[in-house]
Amino acid sequence: MILELHVWGPAFSLPSIDPHCLAAIAYLQQAVPRGKWVLVATSDPALSPTNELPALRNGDIWIGGFRNIFHYLAQFSSGEWVLDAGLPDQQGADCIAFSSFVESHGQPLIDLSLYVSSQNYTTITRPIYNTIQAFPLPYLTPPSIRATAKQRTAHLGLSSLDVDTENGEGRREPSIIPESLRKPKPTVSNLLAASPETNSQIRLSALATTLFEPLQKLKGKKRYLVSDTHFSSLDCLALGYLSLILVPDLPQPWLAQTMRSNFPDLAAWTEELGESIFGGPVDVSDALLSKGKADTKPIRTSEKGKGSLPWAAPYNGGIIGVGRVFLSSIGDSIPIVGQLRRNTRMRQHGGKTPGDELQTSSSWQTLTTVGSVISAVGLVLGYMFHQGVISLPSSEESEKQGSNTADLNAFGDAGAALSIYANRMDAETQRQRAIGQQLGHGAPVAEVDVDVDVKRDLVTITEK
């Protein structure tokens, strides 16, 4: 049985646009003998059970996520295709710790540089998805990846890189704040604001340094990151992230620049290793094996020799397959439906017994039912009020007041301020009338008050 590794398609002359896919490719390239596996640039995460790529297919078994793939390979080959097997304790521990470190510090950098930064995203990253995915999908995939990337980097406070959102808000805001409360404008930073990347340059390079420095120190003079002889899973992961940091040629190259100028050793190591593992630059047509080239392909692979990757043509199920994926990704992007879909995905995979689920969800379910019943009753009541089927005793007066303030509302902010005065004046007149009544004028007053307060009239009448 030949294993199939499904990945996101190639970009920037690298075999994949996703760091985890690059890591998985490097791992299989090193651990699994040639001829036992092929590489498929599917670019369709819906294939794998965890809804993410890379995914490994062995017959009917699908394994999603790169860590699961490593585990599965170890099981499948009964401990033969494992990279981390021969490491001493301390190095094994370092391998685990630094893997988590590379992931947690590398992901935000790639998010910022490829997806959040508007200029890089619109000119480079988004067009790439057109080349690796079938027609309607590039309208959905990159924006959703960008949204997750923004969410992941929100805590860093660098959303200013995303120019699209800032333009509208930034301009309108100052005009509402009165002159006397405004802060003086920082003129120097205005000059710098030509590009948001230069504006936050210091913070960006500090962020990048936190990733590069420990890695550089860990590597030292060794050939690989943790060991001099052993190519470990950490090297795969670091290679995936570092080459996506280093290789892309972007209009805002702060990340690659920081790496090249401050950590030349690490940059050289990444380039060298990438060359030997991925076997030179990869073109989109290499990966997709476009029909025109199908006959020339075998000759080319043999020419390239050992370094090149075992690409196989992706099968995306024609129009029906693409349509299915399109619909399912639309489903994910609709607020409530998408949430439900994600929930079911977690439960399916968690493999919980249905009994467990019933207990917790039933309380929530009853709550939602009660809530919807209440809101439905409320709607019906509201409708009846509106139509005049039922009316409160004092509805006339309240309507009058309501119309008063509604007129003022049309004036916007000023109206809101004025309406307070209006209300107070209304109250005042009422009080004065009440006082007038207490003083005990005769019948004429009662006549005047008829439309204001029916009850009190009744009282005065009975008194008489």
Partner: protein, 315 residues
């Protein structure tokens, strides 16, 4: 007169829109926004307001007086806070342990997220200074990320490990173990009902509606946090990664008393303790104990927790 400022603004817009990427679209939307703008004469009037700004009012008499010693606001209950026992929230416990290790005297105040100026616990309210002149500056609450500096300013010697592994193992703790913790506490139904519900939900309110809403919020927040890093919550992966993380930490500690072979426990020891103590503490009453089981297998980590507990929390 009135049209003048509007003209000027229009000219402004044109020049700025010319620079932007989609001039036509943005100009269109801004014109639309102008419909709702405040009319210039009204705005000119409003620019004079406020005419006079009064100094801030003094606090009411019944407001709590600044205490003689700084108070640390943590998740806890009344008795535990008074006795200085460990908090049941990992990030609170981390800083509580840090302050105990650094020897900064403080008292605990049981509290909730809503009390915090940053929206997160813990925070430290410094002691009232002897000179009452600059009280306003001095009594600002200190969020957790400034606590190290606070401890240094108040005479504690804080050792920061410069080991190259420090960052990596910290990431291991913040990513792997925290994710597994979030899952096991909030999303595992057995544990949520037995452990998290009494601690975080029923202590906050007696109203069933409020309780349902809080517990839903907690679980949704935990889920959102986990889904940030992967497209699906893969439970087996979470537990196996946490197991590997404990293994790595156990190897890192080895036979040493404290992490990175230092003389005194550091902030890193405190952050390990925050999780190990809560997982090993029997009074938490874990129902699904995969995570604490994984920890119990690493004896030196359990001993490390015992050591810290005895030395800095008086047993």
């Amino acid at each position: 007169m009135p049209p003048k400022p509007r003209d000027k603004r229009g000219a402004d817009e044109d020049s700025s829109a010319g620079q932007s990427l989609a001039p036509a679209l943005s100009r269109q939307s801004r014109k639309f926004a102008n419909l709702f703008a405040i009319p210039p004469p009204v705005k000119a009037l409003f620019d004079y307001v406020p005419v006079l700004v009064y100094p801030p009012n003094e606090l009411p008499r019944r407001a709590p007086k600044p205490a003689k010693i700084p108070s640390l606001y943590v998740f806890s209950n009344k008795e535990d806070a008074a006795a200085g026992r460990p908090s049941f929230n990992p990030s609170c416990l981390k800083w509580q342990a840090f302050l105990n290790i650094a020897g900064v005297k403080h008292r605990l105040v049981h509290s909730s997220n809503h009390a915090s100026p940053t929206g997160a616990l813990p925070f430290l309210l410094p002691a009232a200074s002897a000179s009452t002149s600059d009280t306003s500056q001095d009594t600002y609450p200190i969020p957790s990320n400034k606590l190290v500096k606070y401890a240094e300013d108040h005479g504690a010697s804080v050792e920061e490990s410069s080991n190259l592994r420090y960052e990596a193992y910290q990431a291991l703790l913040d990513q792997r173990i925290r994710s597994a913790w979030l899952y096991t506490l909030y999303l595992e139904p057995l544990n949520f009902n037995a452990v998290a519900y009494p601690l975080y939900v029923s202590s906050a309110s007696t109203n069933p509606l409020v309780r349902a809403s809080i517990s839903h919020q907690l679980r949704a927040a935990a889920e959102a946090e986990l889904l940030k890093h992967s497209s699906i919550i893969d439970i087996d992966d979470l537990y196996s990664e946490a197991d590997k993380a404990f293994e790595a930490l156990s190897i890192l500690l080895g036979e040493d008393t404290w992490f990175f072979g230092s003389e005194k426990p550091t902030l890193f020891d405190a952050s390990i303790f925050a999780y190990t103590h809560l997982l090993l503490d029997d009074s938490m009453g874990w129902k699904e104990d995969k995570l604490s089981g994984a920890l119990r297998r690493r004896e030196n980590l359990a001993q490390h927790q015992e050591r810290l507990l005895v030395r800095y929390f008086g047993g």
